[in-house]
């Protein structure tokens, strides 16, 4: 029996389809990207991203391809614009004295914590957890539940404790925690 000719894979079909689209509609797609982008570089990025998305995801009929690609290119253009605006919102100009003016200085005013700060926070959290372990079990339970946002009434229900006991555990637990922290601070 003669070998049946293999049909091209979906990826190859999409690549051929894209090639045809870019040949016929490339200019129109560029115009669409440009109309929805802040600058030519962003427009080119949007078009490239749209083409990659087409190769990866497009599954419809050939006749739907151009409208799908046009829409996806627009979405990439908007996404690129939104990202740029978000980054831009973290920038502000620093004013300097006229004599010191050597050029426009722009600093990155990113409110997100840096890696060093995150590492410090993680260490502090670990230390706190270790300190919590040194509390009496009821004090520890009370402080953790309060920290999780559980109300005094709910703690009372969960543990079968009176409000007085919860108050005492929370107050004594906090005092003890502060003492442990101070002792820890003196050591370091």
């Amino acid at each position: 029996m003669a070998d049946q000719p293999k049909s091209p894979s979906a990826a190859v079909s999409r690549a051929r389809l894209l090639e045809g689209l870019l040949a016929c509609e490339g200019e129109a797609l560029r115009r669409t990207a440009r109309a929805n982008s802040a600058n030519a570089a962003d427009a080119e990025d949007a078009l490239q991203d749209g083409c990659v998305a087409f190769l990866r995801f497009f599954e419809g009929d050939e006749e739907r391809a151009i409208s799908w690609l046009r829409l996806v290119v627009k979405r990439f253009a908007w996404a690129i614009g939104n990202n740029a605006r978000r980054r831009g919102s973290h920038l502000h100009v620093v004013t300097v004295e006229p004599g010191e003016l050597t050029g426009l200085e722009i600093v990155l005013a990113d409110s997100r914590p840096g890696t060093a700060e995150l590492a410090e926070r993680a260490e502090a959290l670990e230390r706190r957890i270790a300190l919590l372990d040194q509390l009496k079990p009821d004090e520890r339970t009370t402080l953790i539940l309060i920290g999780l946002g559980v109300s005094y009434a709910e703690i009372g229900e969960l543990r079968g404790w009176s409000r007085t006991k919860i108050n005492r555990c929370a107050a004594e637990g906090r005092v003890r925690l502060r003492e442990l922290e101070e002792r820890e601070g003196e050591k370091t």
Partner: protein, 115 residues
């Protein structure tokens, strides 16, 4: 004087976006009319065709496109719209998507022409 019945009574209620998606799925291959309006403004457009499919869109697949006819249609992001379902006493229903920035889109099945 005669009393008229409330035959034309319409009800519009907010729905989850997933319910709107279910509405679309239920009307695939039917003739639909999509109308965009910005109430109080001389602005809008409409299109009519067969509801072919509903698909998500790259890059994040958060938005959807409702394909009407050959390839064009309605596209929207669930985060930007409030979905409402309208119903008439006749049993006919339609969808309405309201955006915070103004335009409102309605999608309704075109009733079959009377023979």
């Amino acid at each position: 004087m005669t009393l008229r019945t409330l035959g034309a009574m319409e009800v519009l209620r907010p729905i989850e976006f997933t319910e709107a998606l279910a509405w679309f799925q239920a009307h695939i291959d039917e003739e639909v009319r999509v109308v965009v309006n910005h109430h109080g403004h001389f602005f809008g457009c409409g299109l009519q065709g067969t509801l072919s499919c509903v698909e998500t869109l790259p890059p994040d697949n958060s938005a959807i496109q409702v394909v009407v006819g050959v390839g064009e249609g309605l596209f929207l992001d669930p985060e930007d719209v409030t979905a409402l379902l309208g119903g008439r006493a006749s049993g006919q229903s339609w969808l309405e998507f309201r955006t915070a920035f103004g335009p409102v889109v309605t999608v309704e099945v075109v009733p079959c022409a009377e023979p």
